[in-house]
Subunit: 220 residues, 2 copies
Protein backbone atom coordinates (compact mmCIF):
# COMPACT_ATOMS: atom_id res chain seq x y z
CA UNK A 1 0.00 0.00 0.00
CA UNK A 2 1.04 3.60 -0.37
CA UNK A 3 3.29 4.67 2.44
CA UNK A 4 2.26 8.28 3.14
CA UNK A 5 0.15 7.28 6.09
CA UNK A 6 3.19 6.39 8.13
CA UNK A 7 3.96 10.08 8.54
CA UNK A 8 0.95 10.33 10.84
CA UNK A 9 2.78 8.27 13.42
CA UNK A 10 5.80 10.30 14.52
CA UNK A 11 7.29 7.30 16.30
CA UNK A 12 7.05 5.16 13.19
CA UNK A 13 8.51 7.86 10.98
CA UNK A 14 11.75 7.29 12.87
CA UNK A 15 11.99 3.69 11.73
CA UNK A 16 14.66 2.87 9.16
CA UNK A 17 13.54 2.92 5.53
CA UNK A 18 13.76 -0.87 5.42
CA UNK A 19 11.52 -1.19 8.45
CA UNK A 20 9.05 1.30 7.07
CA UNK A 21 8.97 -0.66 3.87
CA UNK A 22 8.28 -3.83 5.83
CA UNK A 23 5.22 -2.25 7.39
CA UNK A 24 3.87 -0.59 4.31
CA UNK A 25 4.26 -3.71 2.19
CA UNK A 26 2.55 -6.07 4.55
CA UNK A 27 -0.07 -3.87 6.16
CA UNK A 28 -3.57 -3.55 4.85
CA UNK A 29 -5.70 -0.47 4.82
CA UNK A 30 -9.11 -1.09 6.30
CA UNK A 31 -12.18 1.11 6.27
CA UNK A 32 -14.89 0.56 8.81
CA UNK A 33 -18.27 2.25 8.99
CA UNK A 34 -19.44 3.84 12.23
CA UNK A 35 -20.87 1.34 14.66
CA UNK A 36 -18.59 -1.55 13.74
CA UNK A 37 -17.49 -3.81 16.57
CA UNK A 38 -13.70 -3.86 16.36
CA UNK A 39 -13.22 -6.34 19.15
CA UNK A 40 -15.44 -7.96 21.73
CA UNK A 41 -15.33 -10.88 24.16
CA UNK A 42 -14.95 -14.04 22.17
CA UNK A 43 -13.83 -12.44 18.94
CA UNK A 44 -10.29 -13.38 17.98
CA UNK A 45 -7.99 -10.43 17.37
CA UNK A 46 -5.93 -11.06 14.30
CA UNK A 47 -4.12 -7.83 13.67
CA UNK A 48 -2.32 -4.97 15.27
CA UNK A 49 -4.50 -1.96 14.44
CA UNK A 50 -3.18 1.54 13.78
CA UNK A 51 -5.86 4.20 13.54
CA UNK A 52 -5.49 6.79 10.81
CA UNK A 53 -8.84 8.51 11.15
CA UNK A 54 -11.94 8.28 13.24
CA UNK A 55 -12.42 7.14 16.80
CA UNK A 56 -12.98 3.82 18.49
CA UNK A 57 -14.80 3.79 21.80
CA UNK A 58 -13.72 1.11 24.24
CA UNK A 59 -16.26 0.28 26.89
CA UNK A 60 -17.18 -2.30 29.42
CA UNK A 61 -20.57 -3.89 29.76
CA UNK A 62 -21.88 -5.37 32.99
CA UNK A 63 -24.09 -8.36 33.39
CA UNK A 64 -26.79 -6.02 34.66
CA UNK A 65 -26.75 -4.16 31.36
CA UNK A 66 -24.96 -1.07 32.58
CA UNK A 67 -22.02 0.22 30.58
CA UNK A 68 -19.05 2.47 31.08
CA UNK A 69 -16.74 4.09 28.56
CA UNK A 70 -13.13 3.26 29.36
CA UNK A 71 -11.30 5.35 26.77
CA UNK A 72 -11.22 6.28 23.11
CA UNK A 73 -8.63 5.52 20.48
CA UNK A 74 -8.15 8.26 17.89
CA UNK A 75 -6.01 8.90 14.84
CA UNK A 76 -2.29 8.30 15.37
CA UNK A 77 -2.83 5.73 18.12
CA UNK A 78 -2.80 1.98 18.10
CA UNK A 79 -5.49 -0.21 19.49
CA UNK A 80 -3.59 -2.15 22.08
CA UNK A 81 -6.56 -3.94 23.47
CA UNK A 82 -6.80 -6.03 20.35
CA UNK A 83 -3.10 -6.80 20.63
CA UNK A 84 -3.51 -7.65 24.27
CA UNK A 85 -6.26 -10.07 23.33
CA UNK A 86 -3.69 -11.88 21.22
CA UNK A 87 -1.54 -12.46 24.23
CA UNK A 88 -3.85 -13.06 27.11
CA UNK A 89 -5.76 -16.21 27.71
CA UNK A 90 -8.17 -14.28 29.92
CA UNK A 91 -11.03 -12.92 27.91
CA UNK A 92 -11.75 -9.29 28.41
CA UNK A 93 -15.30 -8.21 28.86
CA UNK A 94 -14.51 -4.98 27.10
CA UNK A 95 -15.57 -4.16 23.58
CA UNK A 96 -14.40 -1.66 20.97
CA UNK A 97 -16.87 0.07 18.69
CA UNK A 98 -16.20 2.62 15.98
CA UNK A 99 -17.94 5.89 16.76
CA UNK A 100 -17.25 7.41 13.36
CA UNK A 101 -16.20 5.92 10.05
CA UNK A 102 -12.68 4.68 10.69
CA UNK A 103 -9.66 4.35 8.48
CA UNK A 104 -7.03 2.08 9.94
CA UNK A 105 -3.97 0.05 9.06
CA UNK A 106 -3.95 -3.61 10.01
CA UNK A 107 -0.51 -5.05 10.62
CA UNK A 108 -0.48 -8.85 10.54
CA UNK A 109 0.74 -10.60 13.60
CA UNK A 110 3.88 -11.96 11.99
CA UNK A 111 4.92 -8.51 10.83
CA UNK A 112 4.17 -7.12 14.26
CA UNK A 113 6.47 -9.74 15.79
CA UNK A 114 9.19 -9.04 13.29
CA UNK A 115 9.07 -5.32 13.96
CA UNK A 116 9.15 -5.88 17.68
CA UNK A 117 12.31 -7.90 17.16
CA UNK A 118 14.00 -5.47 14.81
CA UNK A 119 13.14 -2.03 15.99
CA UNK A 120 13.67 -0.38 19.33
CA UNK A 121 11.58 2.52 18.06
CA UNK A 122 8.69 0.26 17.28
CA UNK A 123 8.91 -1.30 20.72
CA UNK A 124 8.88 2.13 22.30
CA UNK A 125 5.79 2.97 20.28
CA UNK A 126 3.96 -0.14 21.38
CA UNK A 127 4.94 0.20 25.01
CA UNK A 128 4.05 3.82 25.26
CA UNK A 129 0.66 2.95 23.92
CA UNK A 130 0.25 0.26 26.53
CA UNK A 131 1.26 2.72 29.18
CA UNK A 132 -1.25 5.28 27.98
CA UNK A 133 -4.04 2.75 28.18
CA UNK A 134 -3.04 1.75 31.67
CA UNK A 135 -3.04 5.40 32.62
CA UNK A 136 -6.50 5.76 31.12
CA UNK A 137 -7.77 2.81 33.09
CA UNK A 138 -6.25 4.11 36.32
CA UNK A 139 -8.01 7.36 35.67
CA UNK A 140 -11.33 5.59 35.21
CA UNK A 141 -10.85 3.67 38.45
CA UNK A 142 -10.06 6.87 40.29
CA UNK A 143 -13.10 8.67 38.92
CA UNK A 144 -15.54 5.86 39.50
CA UNK A 145 -14.29 4.97 42.94
CA UNK A 146 -13.75 8.41 44.40
CA UNK A 147 -15.41 11.27 42.55
CA UNK A 148 -18.89 12.66 42.76
CA UNK A 149 -21.20 12.25 39.83
CA UNK A 150 -22.09 15.93 39.54
CA UNK A 151 -18.42 16.86 39.29
CA UNK A 152 -17.73 14.16 36.71
CA UNK A 153 -20.77 15.15 34.70
CA UNK A 154 -19.68 18.79 34.67
CA UNK A 155 -16.23 17.72 33.47
CA UNK A 156 -17.71 15.61 30.71
CA UNK A 157 -19.97 18.40 29.52
CA UNK A 158 -17.09 20.88 29.38
CA UNK A 159 -14.84 18.37 27.62
CA UNK A 160 -17.33 17.37 24.99
CA UNK A 161 -18.99 20.70 24.19
CA UNK A 162 -17.89 22.39 20.99
CA UNK A 163 -16.72 25.99 20.72
CA UNK A 164 -20.31 27.27 20.87
CA UNK A 165 -20.97 25.21 23.99
CA UNK A 166 -23.17 22.69 22.22
CA UNK A 167 -23.09 18.96 22.43
CA UNK A 168 -25.33 16.27 21.03
CA UNK A 169 -25.87 13.46 23.46
CA UNK A 170 -28.80 11.79 25.09
CA UNK A 171 -28.90 11.47 28.85
CA UNK A 172 -28.44 7.76 28.34
CA UNK A 173 -25.22 8.33 26.40
CA UNK A 174 -23.87 10.61 29.08
CA UNK A 175 -24.76 8.00 31.69
CA UNK A 176 -22.68 5.41 29.83
CA UNK A 177 -19.76 7.83 29.71
CA UNK A 178 -19.84 8.01 33.48
CA UNK A 179 -20.92 4.44 34.18
CA UNK A 180 -24.06 5.51 36.00
CA UNK A 181 -27.81 5.38 35.44
CA UNK A 182 -29.79 7.59 33.09
CA UNK A 183 -32.06 8.95 35.82
CA UNK A 184 -29.06 10.14 37.78
CA UNK A 185 -27.80 12.12 34.78
CA UNK A 186 -31.26 13.52 34.07
CA UNK A 187 -31.63 14.81 37.60
CA UNK A 188 -28.22 16.43 37.69
CA UNK A 189 -28.72 18.02 34.28
CA UNK A 190 -32.02 19.41 35.44
CA UNK A 191 -30.38 20.87 38.52
CA UNK A 192 -27.66 22.43 36.33
CA UNK A 193 -30.39 23.91 34.16
CA UNK A 194 -32.20 25.26 37.23
CA UNK A 195 -28.98 27.03 38.17
CA UNK A 196 -28.87 28.60 34.73
CA UNK A 197 -25.71 26.75 33.70
CA UNK A 198 -27.19 25.15 30.59
CA UNK A 199 -30.19 24.66 28.35
CA UNK A 200 -31.64 21.26 27.54
CA UNK A 201 -33.34 19.97 24.45
CA UNK A 202 -33.99 16.47 23.25
CA UNK A 203 -30.59 14.99 22.52
CA UNK A 204 -28.90 18.38 22.91
CA UNK A 205 -27.18 20.33 25.65
CA UNK A 206 -26.08 23.94 25.32
CA UNK A 207 -23.79 25.39 27.95
CA UNK A 208 -24.96 28.84 29.02
CA UNK A 209 -22.72 29.64 31.98
CA UNK A 210 -19.48 27.75 31.86
CA UNK A 211 -18.14 29.32 35.04
CA UNK A 212 -20.53 27.45 37.29
CA UNK A 213 -19.70 24.15 35.62
CA UNK A 214 -16.02 24.92 35.75
CA UNK A 215 -16.09 25.65 39.44
CA UNK A 216 -17.90 22.38 40.10
CA UNK A 217 -15.60 20.44 37.76
CA UNK A 218 -12.51 21.83 39.44
CA UNK A 219 -13.69 21.37 43.01
CA UNK A 220 -11.34 19.26 45.08
Amino acid sequence: MSPEWIARFPELARLTPAEQQLITERAQLVELPAGTTVFAPGLPAENFLLLLDGTVRVQQVSSGGREIVLYRVTGGESCIMTTACLLSQDTYNAEGITETPVQAVAVPRATFDELMARSAEFRRFVFSDYSSRITDLLHVVEEVAFERIDKRLAQKLLARADAEGRLSATHQELAVELGTAREVVSRHLKEFQRRGWLELNRGQVRLAERTGLERLAGAA
Copy 2:
Protein backbone atom coordinates in the same frame (compact mmCIF):
# COMPACT_ATOMS: atom_id res chain seq x y z
CA MET B 1 24.37 -13.86 40.42
CA SER B 2 23.49 -17.52 40.74
CA PRO B 3 21.07 -18.55 38.06
CA GLU B 4 18.73 -21.01 39.80
CA TRP B 5 16.03 -18.37 40.28
CA ILE B 6 15.30 -18.29 36.58
CA ALA B 7 13.59 -21.66 36.86
CA ARG B 8 10.77 -19.95 38.75
CA PHE B 9 9.74 -18.18 35.56
CA PRO B 10 8.61 -20.86 33.13
CA GLU B 11 8.62 -18.38 30.26
CA LEU B 12 12.20 -17.38 30.95
CA ALA B 13 13.34 -20.96 31.31
CA ARG B 14 12.63 -21.27 27.60
CA LEU B 15 15.20 -18.62 26.71
CA THR B 16 18.39 -19.80 25.08
CA PRO B 17 21.32 -20.44 27.42
CA ALA B 18 23.05 -17.31 26.09
CA GLU B 19 20.00 -15.18 26.86
CA GLN B 20 19.63 -16.71 30.28
CA GLN B 21 23.24 -15.95 30.94
CA LEU B 22 22.69 -12.37 29.87
CA ILE B 23 19.99 -11.97 32.48
CA THR B 24 21.71 -13.76 35.29
CA GLU B 25 24.95 -11.87 34.76
CA ARG B 26 23.46 -8.42 34.70
CA ALA B 27 20.54 -8.73 37.08
CA GLN B 28 20.79 -7.93 40.74
CA LEU B 29 19.07 -9.71 43.57
CA VAL B 30 17.26 -7.30 45.86
CA GLU B 31 15.70 -7.93 49.24
CA LEU B 32 13.06 -5.58 50.52
CA PRO B 33 11.44 -5.58 53.96
CA ALA B 34 7.67 -5.50 54.26
CA GLY B 35 6.22 -2.03 53.89
CA THR B 36 8.74 -0.75 51.36
CA THR B 37 7.43 1.56 48.67
CA VAL B 38 8.51 -0.03 45.41
CA PHE B 39 7.17 2.73 43.22
CA ALA B 40 5.08 5.83 43.71
CA PRO B 41 4.15 8.98 41.85
CA GLY B 42 7.30 10.93 41.28
CA LEU B 43 9.75 8.16 41.97
CA PRO B 44 11.80 7.22 38.92
CA ALA B 45 11.64 3.54 38.01
CA GLU B 46 15.05 2.31 37.08
CA ASN B 47 14.65 -1.40 36.69
CA PHE B 48 12.45 -4.15 35.41
CA LEU B 49 11.46 -6.06 38.53
CA LEU B 50 10.88 -9.80 38.67
CA LEU B 51 9.42 -11.05 41.92
CA LEU B 52 10.84 -14.24 43.37
CA ASP B 53 9.07 -14.23 46.71
CA GLY B 54 6.61 -12.12 48.61
CA THR B 55 3.84 -9.89 47.38
CA VAL B 56 3.60 -6.30 46.26
CA ARG B 57 0.28 -4.55 46.64
CA VAL B 58 -0.52 -1.95 44.00
CA GLN B 59 -3.09 0.60 45.03
CA GLN B 60 -4.44 3.96 44.14
CA VAL B 61 -4.86 6.84 46.54
CA SER B 62 -7.38 9.62 46.07
CA SER B 63 -6.99 13.24 46.98
CA GLY B 64 -9.71 12.71 49.59
CA GLY B 65 -7.57 10.11 51.33
CA ARG B 66 -9.52 7.08 50.21
CA GLU B 67 -7.62 4.17 48.74
CA ILE B 68 -8.31 1.13 46.61
CA VAL B 69 -6.25 -1.96 45.98
CA LEU B 70 -5.79 -2.52 42.25
CA TYR B 71 -3.95 -5.82 42.21
CA ARG B 72 -1.11 -7.75 43.74
CA VAL B 73 2.12 -8.97 42.22
CA THR B 74 3.38 -12.27 43.54
CA GLY B 75 6.28 -14.64 42.96
CA GLY B 76 6.88 -15.50 39.32
CA GLU B 77 5.41 -12.25 38.02
CA SER B 78 6.99 -9.05 36.88
CA CYS B 79 6.08 -5.64 38.10
CA ILE B 80 5.01 -4.00 34.89
CA MET B 81 3.85 -0.81 36.46
CA THR B 82 7.44 0.14 37.20
CA THR B 83 8.35 -0.67 33.61
CA ALA B 84 5.42 1.32 32.36
CA CYS B 85 6.62 4.25 34.41
CA LEU B 86 9.83 4.09 32.40
CA LEU B 87 7.91 4.61 29.22
CA SER B 88 5.10 6.94 30.01
CA GLN B 89 5.40 10.63 30.54
CA ASP B 90 2.11 10.62 32.39
CA THR B 91 2.65 10.06 36.07
CA TYR B 92 0.53 7.39 37.61
CA ASN B 93 -1.11 8.06 40.89
CA ALA B 94 -0.70 4.45 41.81
CA GLU B 95 1.82 3.13 44.28
CA GLY B 96 3.36 -0.25 44.98
CA ILE B 97 4.09 -1.40 48.49
CA THR B 98 5.59 -4.67 49.68
CA GLU B 99 3.16 -6.53 51.91
CA THR B 100 5.67 -9.13 52.98
CA PRO B 101 9.45 -9.27 52.83
CA VAL B 102 10.20 -9.47 49.13
CA GLN B 103 12.96 -11.09 47.15
CA ALA B 104 13.20 -9.81 43.62
CA VAL B 105 15.49 -9.60 40.64
CA ALA B 106 16.18 -6.18 39.17
CA VAL B 107 17.01 -6.22 35.48
CA PRO B 108 18.68 -2.99 34.32
CA ARG B 109 16.97 -1.10 31.60
CA ALA B 110 19.68 -1.74 29.01
CA THR B 111 19.49 -5.48 29.57
CA PHE B 112 15.72 -5.33 29.39
CA ASP B 113 15.97 -3.59 26.02
CA GLU B 114 18.49 -6.08 24.73
CA LEU B 115 16.33 -9.03 25.71
CA MET B 116 13.28 -7.46 24.13
CA ALA B 117 15.28 -7.20 20.92
CA ARG B 118 16.73 -10.68 21.02
CA SER B 119 14.07 -12.93 22.40
CA ALA B 120 10.56 -13.57 21.21
CA GLU B 121 10.01 -15.57 24.39
CA PHE B 122 11.00 -12.65 26.54
CA ARG B 123 8.64 -10.39 24.62
CA ARG B 124 5.84 -12.83 25.10
CA PHE B 125 6.58 -12.87 28.81
CA VAL B 126 6.48 -9.09 29.08
CA PHE B 127 3.36 -8.72 27.00
CA SER B 128 1.44 -11.39 28.77
CA ASP B 129 2.25 -9.62 32.00
CA TYR B 130 0.96 -6.36 30.61
CA SER B 131 -2.18 -8.11 29.49
CA SER B 132 -2.74 -9.61 32.89
CA ARG B 133 -2.49 -6.22 34.50
CA ILE B 134 -4.93 -4.72 32.06
CA THR B 135 -7.29 -7.59 32.81
CA ASP B 136 -6.88 -6.89 36.49
CA LEU B 137 -7.71 -3.23 36.01
CA LEU B 138 -10.74 -4.02 33.89
CA HIS B 139 -11.90 -6.28 36.65
CA VAL B 140 -11.52 -3.52 39.22
CA VAL B 141 -13.48 -1.10 37.04
CA GLU B 142 -16.25 -3.63 36.64
CA GLU B 143 -16.45 -4.33 40.34
CA VAL B 144 -16.35 -0.74 41.45
CA ALA B 145 -18.75 0.54 38.83
CA PHE B 146 -21.33 -2.21 38.82
CA GLU B 147 -21.24 -4.53 41.81
CA ARG B 148 -22.79 -4.24 45.22
CA ILE B 149 -20.56 -3.82 48.20
CA ASP B 150 -22.03 -6.72 50.16
CA LYS B 151 -21.37 -9.09 47.28
CA ARG B 152 -17.82 -7.82 46.81
CA LEU B 153 -17.13 -8.04 50.52
CA ALA B 154 -18.36 -11.62 50.63
CA GLN B 155 -16.07 -12.47 47.71
CA LYS B 156 -13.09 -10.87 49.41
CA LEU B 157 -13.71 -12.71 52.64
CA LEU B 158 -13.95 -16.05 50.88
CA ALA B 159 -10.87 -15.33 48.81
CA ARG B 160 -8.70 -14.21 51.68
CA ALA B 161 -9.74 -16.67 54.37
CA ASP B 162 -7.36 -19.52 55.08
CA ALA B 163 -8.32 -23.19 55.18
CA GLU B 164 -9.81 -22.79 58.67
CA GLY B 165 -11.87 -19.83 57.51
CA ARG B 166 -9.78 -17.28 59.38
CA LEU B 167 -8.39 -14.03 58.14
CA SER B 168 -6.56 -11.22 59.83
CA ALA B 169 -7.69 -7.85 58.60
CA THR B 170 -9.11 -4.73 60.11
CA HIS B 171 -12.32 -3.29 58.73
CA GLN B 172 -10.23 -0.41 57.42
CA GLU B 173 -8.01 -2.80 55.46
CA LEU B 174 -11.02 -4.51 53.95
CA ALA B 175 -12.44 -1.11 53.03
CA VAL B 176 -9.24 -0.29 51.12
CA GLU B 177 -9.48 -3.60 49.29
CA LEU B 178 -12.90 -2.60 48.05
CA GLY B 179 -12.30 1.11 47.70
CA THR B 180 -15.05 2.02 50.12
CA ALA B 181 -15.37 3.50 53.61
CA ARG B 182 -14.64 1.69 56.83
CA GLU B 183 -18.14 2.26 58.25
CA VAL B 184 -19.67 0.58 55.23
CA VAL B 185 -17.56 -2.52 55.79
CA SER B 186 -18.29 -2.54 59.52
CA ARG B 187 -22.02 -2.46 58.94
CA HIS B 188 -22.00 -5.22 56.37
CA LEU B 189 -19.77 -7.40 58.52
CA LYS B 190 -22.10 -6.91 61.42
CA GLU B 191 -25.05 -7.93 59.29
CA PHE B 192 -23.14 -11.03 58.13
CA GLN B 193 -22.46 -11.86 61.74
CA ARG B 194 -26.12 -11.37 62.64
CA ARG B 195 -26.94 -13.94 59.98
CA GLY B 196 -24.52 -16.36 61.58
CA TRP B 197 -22.15 -16.36 58.64
CA LEU B 198 -19.09 -15.28 60.60
CA GLU B 199 -17.61 -14.30 63.92
CA LEU B 200 -15.83 -11.04 64.48
CA ASN B 201 -12.95 -10.15 66.71
CA ARG B 202 -10.61 -7.20 66.70
CA GLY B 203 -8.56 -7.54 63.55
CA GLN B 204 -9.92 -11.03 62.91
CA VAL B 205 -12.74 -12.60 60.97
CA ARG B 206 -13.68 -16.26 61.19
CA LEU B 207 -16.07 -17.66 58.63
CA ALA B 208 -18.69 -19.84 60.28
CA GLU B 209 -21.12 -20.57 57.45
CA ARG B 210 -19.49 -20.27 54.08
CA THR B 211 -22.63 -21.25 52.20
CA GLY B 212 -24.41 -17.98 52.94
CA LEU B 213 -21.40 -15.97 51.86
CA GLU B 214 -20.97 -18.10 48.78
CA ARG B 215 -24.54 -17.60 47.71
CA LEU B 216 -24.21 -13.85 48.13
CA ALA B 217 -20.82 -13.79 46.38
CA GLY B 218 -22.16 -15.73 43.45
CA ALA B 219 -25.40 -13.82 43.05
CA ALA B 220 -25.84 -12.36 39.60
